[in-house]
């Protein structure tokens, strides 16, 4: 090694640092959106970003927060890696951002919760608050719960409770097959389904409990053959992404005639991949779907949806999906206004126990474990007919229709959370 090399190294590092330096503005409240914006899950992350961008714009159009401050969403690409997420978290904190929004990947969320907990302990004067809109591992509001974490999506337990209630009311369902991805999330779906089925409908037989490697299966036909052999009439699955669409596609191919009760059957890209194969068969647990405003006659929300479709959805290719994004942003804005400051500690205290009116009823951020309690719906794939199934998803001609509404109180589950709260 000689000095010339070192010189060039120094030069390069200097350049790096200068490029990384960034200015801060003060008339905005910045919110970091940390989700995958490149790689295999980029579409999902990108879609989420649009949701939050749209909602921020709406709030800003109404005057923003704290009497005129604007909300600004800054996107950070975590490539759905826990490690990258922590880097981007540091990056965000360095830019003076203290509000984090993230959703995809329970592993990412777990990493963020513990990293933020550590950061806030080490830097009590510069805390960070974390709004989770999609990571639904029950642990986050139970043994791993944190004061700084707020979840706006229903947890696995809550969604499975909705599904099992439905099974209880549907006497046709006699044999249930559980098929899930082989990791923490899939296992929690399976275990809570087994526990709740045993409790609520002991007569229903669980004929299979299979785990598939996450994102690795290309052809689900072997699993379908196995499901057929088991004689199941219903499948419960927490599969998402390609694992969801491929499962239903393979089922259709083999003429498998079962009901699918899913957590992510409406996920981005699923309607396109599944399409007709899902009609009247594929049920999913959601807090919102594209025909809800029509069914419940909420023209304001329909307009909200249509505006998004027009401006943000690439002509309907990426439709509005995260109904909870609106709740998240509105509650955040309320909390900032209520606290009278954008200090995360104050925001967190304001959010605790906060109630909020959505077009579909009152929701509450339970202070015990920071889980949002909201009404849930079971929706099924249906052909768009211009009537109550007015809109179709992802330009497929296929939409959703509600088959059951579950009130918020009914979805609430007990929690074991013992949270440490900072001084107010």
């Amino acid at each position: 090694m000689n000095t010339k090399v070192l010189k060039s190294l120094i030069g390069m590092v200097c350049f790096a640092m200068m490029a990384a330096a960034s200015a801060m503005a003060s008339d905005t409240v910045k919110i970091a959106y940390i989700d995958p914006l490149s790689g295999p899950f980029a579409a999902v992350g990108d879609s989420g970003y649009r949701h939050f961008q749209y909602n921020a714009e709406l709030i800003n159009a109404k005057g923003g927060v704290l009497g005129g401050k604007k909300l600004e969403i800054v996107a950070f690409d975590n490539k759905i890696s826990a490690k990258e997420s922590l880097i981007q978290l540091k990056n965000a904190i360095d830019q003076g951002i203290q509000i984090i929004i993230q959703g995809n990947g329970s592993s990412v969320a777990g990493a963020l919760i513990s990293a933020i907990e550590k950061h806030n302990n080490r830097n009590p004067d510069k805390p960070v608050v974390y709004l989770n809109f999609a990571a639904i591992d029950p642990a986050f509001t139970n043994e791993k719960c944190s004061f700084w974490h707020f979840r706006f999506d229903a947890s696995v337990d809550m969604k499975i409770a909705a599904i099992t209630d439905y099974i209880k009311e549907t006497p046709k369902i006699k044999k249930v097959y559980l098929i899930n991805q082989d990791y923490v999330f899939g296992h929690s779906v399976s275990s809570s389904a087994k526990a709740m089925l045993a409790e609520k409908c002991p007569k229903v037989e669980i004929v299979g409990d299979t785990f598939t490697p996450l994102g690795k299966v290309k052809d689900f036909s072997p699993y379908i053959a196995k499901i057929k052999a088991s004689g199941a009439d219903t499948i419960i699955t927490g599969n998402w992404g390609a694992d969801m669409s491929l499962l239903v596609k393979a089922g259709k191919d083999a003429g498998l005639n079962v009901r699918y009760l899913t957590l992510y059957g409406n996920g981005l890209g699923a309607p396109r991949a599944i399409a007709e194969a899902g009609i009247d068969k594929l049920v999913t647990v959601v807090e919102w779907h594209i025909n809800l405003s029509v069914e419940e006659n909420k023209p304001e929300d329909e307009k909200f949806f249509l505006d998004y479709q027009k401006k943000y959805s690439n002509d309907g290719e990426m439709p509005y999906y995260y109904g909870r994004a609106r709740t998240t942003m509105e509650m955040l804005a309320d909390a900032i206004n209520k606290a009278g400051t954008d200090n995360p500690r104050a925001i967190a205290f304001a959010l605790e126990g906060m109630e909020h009116d959505t077009p579909y009823g009152k929701v509450q951020m339970r202070s015990q474990d920071h889980q949002l309690i909201q009404p849930l719906y079971l929706a099924v794939y249906a052909k768009a007919d211009g009537g109550s199934v007015k809109y179709d998803s992802e330009n497929t001609g296929i939409g959703f229709k509600t088959i059951k509404r579950i009130e918020g109180e009914a979805t609430a589950m007990p929690t074991t959370c013992q949270m440490e709260r900072p001084e107010k």
Binding site: M17, I87, G110, S114, R122
Partner: protein, 417 residues
């Protein structure tokens, strides 16, 4: 030791640099970036021990990094629990030893042949371990990974490692130590024989060496350093997930090392610094960063297979002879032309990204502060024109560079005699 003293100057500069950099660039982000660069430097230098020096192309080097990281992580948890009586500062050593042991095992299994067979075995082992990681949640922690709190009681320094800067200095110390050790390793009998085995395994067997043994030891030592890097990773992020064992970090370290240049010891250092920087910052500027990165990688393979270090070292004779000024005019012209061409390509890529992936494809996009509509043909025409013009002048520039090099060679020859 004598060697160290003789070359003390450069090491002193390196130490001073490591000490001063975080003072100059003191933002959290910069320090975090520097820490990551430190880890990447150890990792890619260790990779070059097998690729550059041993001639073994591995597609699974992250296995040793990852296993080292997991072991160190469990180690830190034990340290925190008080069951393991070693200070936190030495935790990377746990990773290193873990890497070493796994490296000896897999090294012996995979190094009987080099070349494609070795490459495929390393790929297979990488996929195998990565796929098993999710089956063994006890060790690998499943999708969630294993995490820790590095603020433990047992430290030998006065630091409690609550702040990133303290972690940075720990990484810097380990990095300097590892660089020195890896550099000295190239000067040892094993290091020299590894080169011999790379160049000519047949002959190496006839100077008494078991080529498989040479490769195995070289491989295991590389795994050791890789494990140390993994251990530092564990301390830096306080989390490690199974993805760190997989194909992506393995491909990443390969690209880093190759872009830096595998033919020179310092090549991987340049590669690690540059690529880490690009990965962390480019993704903030453009969604197309992976495409740019891929283009850079492929262009390096096509036109500069010796890597950045090779390019730099090619100029050594000209530099020594004081003839760099002869090269500068043609270089400037060729670089300008290349820049124009790249500008065109970039415009084209960004327009396309705007059309296919941005939120409002119909809104005007802005590039270099100029705002225009992506649909309008003007952008396309300008981009294609830039590419064409750039390409034309680049070809000419390339010839000029060639000619000026010939001049320089001529001058060196005549000057030398």
């Amino acid at each position: 030791m004598k060697y160290l003293i003789r070359h003390l100057g450069i090491w002193a500069v390196a130490i001073a640099l490591c000490a001063i950099l975080p003072v100059i660039f003191s933002s959290d982000y910069a320090i975090s970036l520097l820490s990551q660069m430190g880890i990447a430097i150890i990792f890619s230098l260790s990779y070059n021990m097998i690729l550059g020096q041993g001639g073994m192309l591995s597609f699974g080097h992250a296995v040793y990094f990852g296993i080292g990281g997991f072991l160190a992580m469990h180690g830190i948890n034990l340290i925190a629990g008080g069951t393991l009586p070693i200070p936190l500062e030495l935790a990377p050593l746990i990773g290193g030893l873990g890497g070493l042991i796994v490296g000896i095992l897999f090294g012996w299994l995979s190094t009987e042949r080099s070349g494609t067979t070795f490459a495929l075995i390393s790929l297979g082992i990488g996929e195998l371990i990565a796929a098993s990681a999710l089956l063994l949640p006890g060790f690998f922690g499943g999708e969630e990974g294993v995490s820790t709190d590095r603020m433990v009681e047992n430290t030998i320094t006065p630091f409690d490692f609550g702040q990133q800067i303290e972690v940075y200095y720990l990484i810097a110390c380990w990095m300097l130590l590892c660089i020195v050790l890896m550099y000295l390793q190239t000067k040892t009998p094993l290091g020299r024989v590894a080169n011999a085995v790379r160049d000519n395994p047949e002959r190496a067997a006839f100077i008494g060496y078991n080529t498989r043994m040479v490769r195995t030891i070289q491989f295991a030592l590389a795994s050791f350093f890789s494990g140390i890097a993994g251990g530092l990773f564990a301390i830096n992020y306080e989390i490690i997930t199974a993805e760190m064992i997989g194909a992506i970090p393995s491909a990443n370290v390969l690209m880093m090392t190759y872009i830096g240049g595998i033919g020179h010891f310092f090549g991987p250092i340049i590669g690690a610094v540059l690529v880490t920087f690009m990965q962390l910052t480019l993704s903030g500027f453009t969604h197309a960063w992976q495409l740019y990165f891929g283009l850079l990688f492929v262009s390096m393979i096509l036109w500069a297979p010796t890597g950045l270090a090779g390019i730099i070292m090619n100029h050594e004779p000209a530099w020594k002879a004081g003839l760099m000024k002869k090269l500068i005019p043609s270089y400037t012209r060729a670089t300008l032309a290349a820049l124009v061409m790249f500008l065109g390509i970039m415009t084209l890529i960004e327009i396309n990204y705007h059309l296919s992936l941005s939120i409002h494809p119909k809104d005007p996009m802005s590039l270099f502060g100029i705002s225009f509509k992506a649909q309008s043909p003007a952008g396309w025409i300008i981009a294609i024109a830039l590419i064409a013009v750039g390409f034309f002048f680049f070809k000419r520039g390339k010839n000029e560079v060639k000619n000026s090099w010939m001049d320089v060679h001529q001058a060196i020859k005549t000057g030398g005699k």
